[in-house]
Symmetry: C2
Subunit: 263 residues, 2 copies
């Protein structure tokens, strides 16, 4: 959707979410959506598996006037499609500790294919390895992927869901460890297709123009780290982000009770 104008909010002061509780992650997401709501977005994506797993349901209830989706349903749908007609497909999911603990992928997959067998594995070293900028042929990357993935291969997975938006950056070395028999699902790509479909259904896509849409970034920590990582992840330089501290987020979310917790 190159014509769309995108606002990206990265909670860099409080990341990662993947080791934290549903209540904490939901509070953080609530503050961010409350901050973005005045921009009247036509759609909001929780473009993070942990945030989706832990808070999507609560956040949808709290912002009923906003259209909000996540990354897990599109990934689960694609995994079931990739499993094809096999009666009892074995589907592996690698994700953060919090996403695994939430069982969100399990619910989303079993709703579509009750007979699927799910093997979930938290893989907490992959995000720091990716952010460290390690090469795909780094022996440490290869060894970590072997340790995490070979037990899943040995137990016969047909499909592996990359259940964290960082993981597609390791798609090549992951495919090498898995071999050609296992289908790999990039939940980020399927999420983008899901958003495009939602916009079309609602008659909301921005008409084709010769001009590309804009990307505006907000971050909660003002550090050169974001621009470095964003440029590496996106493949092009990203404009300097706007800095909003967690305290400003909190102060500018009127009507949101700080002490009550949703989950």
């Amino acid at each position: 959707m190159p014509a769309e104008n995108i606002v990206y909010f990265g909670d860099t002061a409080r990341l990662p979410y993947g080791s934290k509780s549903p209540a904490t992650v939901t509070t953080f997401v609530r503050q961010i959506i409350g901050y973005l709501a005045p921009l009247q977005p036509k759609h909001v994506v929780l473009a993070c598996n942990t945030a989706t797993a832990l808070s999507l349901q609560a956040i949808r209830g709290e912002f009923p006037h906003l259209s909000i989706s996540g990354v897990i349903e599109p990934g689960a749908r694609a995994a079931v499609e990739a499993a094809g007609s096999k009666e009892q497909p074995v589907i592996g999911v690698i994700a953060t500790e919090a996403t695994v603990r939430s069982r969100a992928y399990e619910r989303a997959i079993h709703r579509r294919r009750t007979q699927a067998r799910l093997l979930q594995r938290p893989t907490p070293l992959l995000v720091p390895m990716i952010e460290e900028g390690r090469a795909h042929d780094d022996p440490l990357v290869r060894l970590a992927l072997q340790q995490y993935l070979l037990p899943l291969v040995q137990r016969g997975i047909d499909v592996l869901v990359l259940g964290c938006t960082h993981y597609p950056l390791l798609a090549d070395p992951i495919a090498r460890v898995l071999g050609s028999r296992v289908r790999v699902i990039d939940s980020a790509a399927h999420c983008a297709e899901d958003v495009a479909r939602r916009l079309r259904t609602a008659g909301l896509p921005r008409g084709d123009t010769e001009f590309h849409g804009s990307i505006r970034c907000f971050v909660t920590d003002d550090s050169p780290r974001f621009e470095q990582l964003a440029s590496r992840f996106m493949g092009f330089a990203v404009a300097r982000p706007t800095h909003v501290t967690p305290e400003e987020l909190f102060a500018q979310s009127p009507g949101i009770n700080p002490v009550r917790r949703a989950v």
Copy 2:
């Protein structure tokens, strides 16, 4: 100091600090000290290398009535002592990205030994490896330590400072990679000795009793993860922590302007 009563505050909702900016870390530390100040602690330790490197100086200025120390000065002092009489000792420091970038160890060591050569190395995979509970003989731990440390050994370090309070949990495999020629400094142990000395100098140590002091824990994220890790790190079960959300921290730090930044 087994007789002392200890209050431990773990900012589990916003950790890790090691990849974040001085302004953000200083804001978080300020909120925590503001929250603890009414307990009238006889001493406060920033028991985290990143928090010490990025915020100790500012925080001391903002809380002049509190006695506050960190972990870096004790570690730097011990490193210089361990280097002995060598004219140009080579001192290695492994730490978080933020601690390395701050050059806090460099300043603290050069103040004592202007001729020392410093080799600093961010080692961002070690904390997640330790928190994942990997065994000391795990091939991934060994390979990561070889990648991080052998270049320092080859450049002739005499001393290695473990510049993050997690790293002493890997002291054995670190010593195996370094060999017997390199002295290893555990900044956590030297920090405890430094606090004991400060209390004695101020005439404040709690008299010997037959009873052990208490440990009371506060955390910002209410998750079973803290108790699991704390028990593993401490070697005994830790009482259930009190949960204080980041929003409560912020709301209960009156007079602290959320938007101004100290650094």
